[in-house]
Amino acid sequence: MSSKPKISIQDLTKVFYKKDNSVTALENISLNIEDGEFVCLVGPSGCGKTTLLRILAGLENQSSGEFTIEPGDEDRPSQSMVFQERGILPWMTVEENVAFGLEMRHLPKAIVKERTAYFLNKVGLGKFAKMYPNELSGGMKQRVSIARAFANDPEILLMDEPFGALDEQNKYILQEELLSIWSETKKTVLFITHSIDEALYLSDRVLLMSAQPGKIVAEMKIDLPRPRKLEDFRSNPEMASKFLAIWRHLQVEVQGSRL
């Protein structure tokens, strides 16, 4: 087994240049994420966590520094992103949306069909395959988005606050579902959220970010055994103290950025 990290980021910096006041969104971010690790990045809004994810997703270029995603299987794309709620294409049916990544790679029809059907059923949308997104609820839309990313079978998964717009009950359900699919595939995941609870429940490791300039200021290992049940997680006193520790950290950050 190689002990090389799956994602390694060195001194990544991103500056948004404006004539009068340039903003340093990310400053010298360095971090490693191991193969199969589920890492959550938590921080106040505007701390640059989405920028970091967009750079890894190839949607934005860094100003300096570099990152590598360790290649594995040749046929696999290096990364796929689960977008926020508006990220599924309204002119495609549920099925076409899930197949999107596979279609873009022009894989054989039979494989596309099989994998699409498999992940549609995994997220419980088998019956809704022929529907258009405007007929779906927010939770169902995010299931489509998750199925699309997993069906694409990338080296790593990037998730940009996928449950941010959902109501609380739906959020819990989708978190559990995500963990169950993830535990089957053991993908490396970088997950962005502003919810401390979500980060604690989902991840192996939580990274805390500060705003302006965006830096990683702390990290915390979460060694709660898996599979995790929401009930166990909730009643675990260690989690409560971790929550408070993160909250104290972020509180300073949020109030600091208000001044």
Partner: protein, 268 residues
């Protein structure tokens, strides 16, 4: 004593009331044109308005049947539909293609849009003399006139349609590695389609306006010609037949396009 009602019965009555109101609305919609025709007929027959200028609808209908049986009307309708059809396609197809190019490639957009902005306010009809000089008085000049007037709303709406595609969809395409061709067919085209179709709907309306005007000026046949010569010869019943035909075709065309819209944009 409290009056205890069955809740289902209450709701049923409420529902019936709703149904009746909906039925009333449908009736009102059907009733209003019929009402207009009746008032017209009455005023014209009774001499309250001059029957020479506003012949009663029944007289127009009998003129319509006369023209229809003599075959004259078919000739005018055929030639007008031919001009509209070809002119429409000749305006819509380049409009969509140029619009998509402008929407997708900013340099092309910035290069072409001043020309379009400058030409757009000029009514194509005002260019008819030049068009007649270039293309002669044959069919080509009418088709070109219609194409010219249809082109602008289509191109402008297509550009607007492409530009208005939410940037998150562009991110999705990029993240999942869409090729240029896939991006064009799976993102740009369907994404701009709803707004583009509104432009085509507008183009259709403008095509009808233009055909009538074009046939009034440089033609010896067509519905516009029928209207104009009938008017010149003071055959107002014939003129009204022409006007009503235009209204009829306008209605049919927008129905057809709406049907097409439902086919092409099933996700709305």
């Amino acid at each position: 004593m409290r009056d205890i009602k069955d809740p289902i019965e209450t709701e049923q009555q409420e529902w019936k009331k709703q149904q009746n109101q909906n039925r009333l609305k449908t009736w009102l919609t059907i009733f209003s044109p019929v009402c207009l025709l009746l008032v017209w007929e009455f005023l014209s027959q009774s001499g309250l308005i001059d029957a020479r200028f506003f012949p009663p609808p029944t007289a127009i209908v009998s003129t319509f049947i006369e023209l229809l049986t003599s075959g004259e009307l078919f000739h005018h309708i055929n030639i007008s539909l031919f001009r509209i059809g070809f002119g429409f396609l000749l305006g819509v197809i380049p409009g969509i293609l140029i619009g998509l190019c402008m929407g997708l490639y900013a340099p092309i957009r910035h290069f072409i849009s001043p020309i379009i902005m400058a030409l757009m306010p000029i009514p194509t009809i005002a260019l008819l003399p030049i068009i007649l000089i270039i293309f002669g008085i044959g069919e080509v000049s009418k088709v070109v006139t219609i194409a010219g007037s249809v082109f602008f709303p289509v191109v402008i709406n297509t550009v607007a349609g492409v530009i208005s595609i939410d940037s998150i969809y562009l991110d999705v395409a990029k993240n999942y590695g869409a090729s240029r061709k896939d991006f064009f067919l799976k993102i740009a085209l369907p994404g701009s389609l709803p707004v583009m179709l509104e432009g085509i709907q507008m183009g259709q309306a403008i095509a009808l306006l233009t055909i009538v005007a074009a046939e009034m000026m440089g033609a010896t046949s067509g519905i516009g010609y029928l209207i104009w010569t009938s008017y010149s010869a003071f055959l107002l019943k014939e003129m009204f037949v022409g006007l009503i035909l235009i209204s009829f075709f306008g209605y049919i065309f927008s129905l057809l396009l709406r049907g097409l819209q439902r086919k092409l944009v099933p996700w709305r």
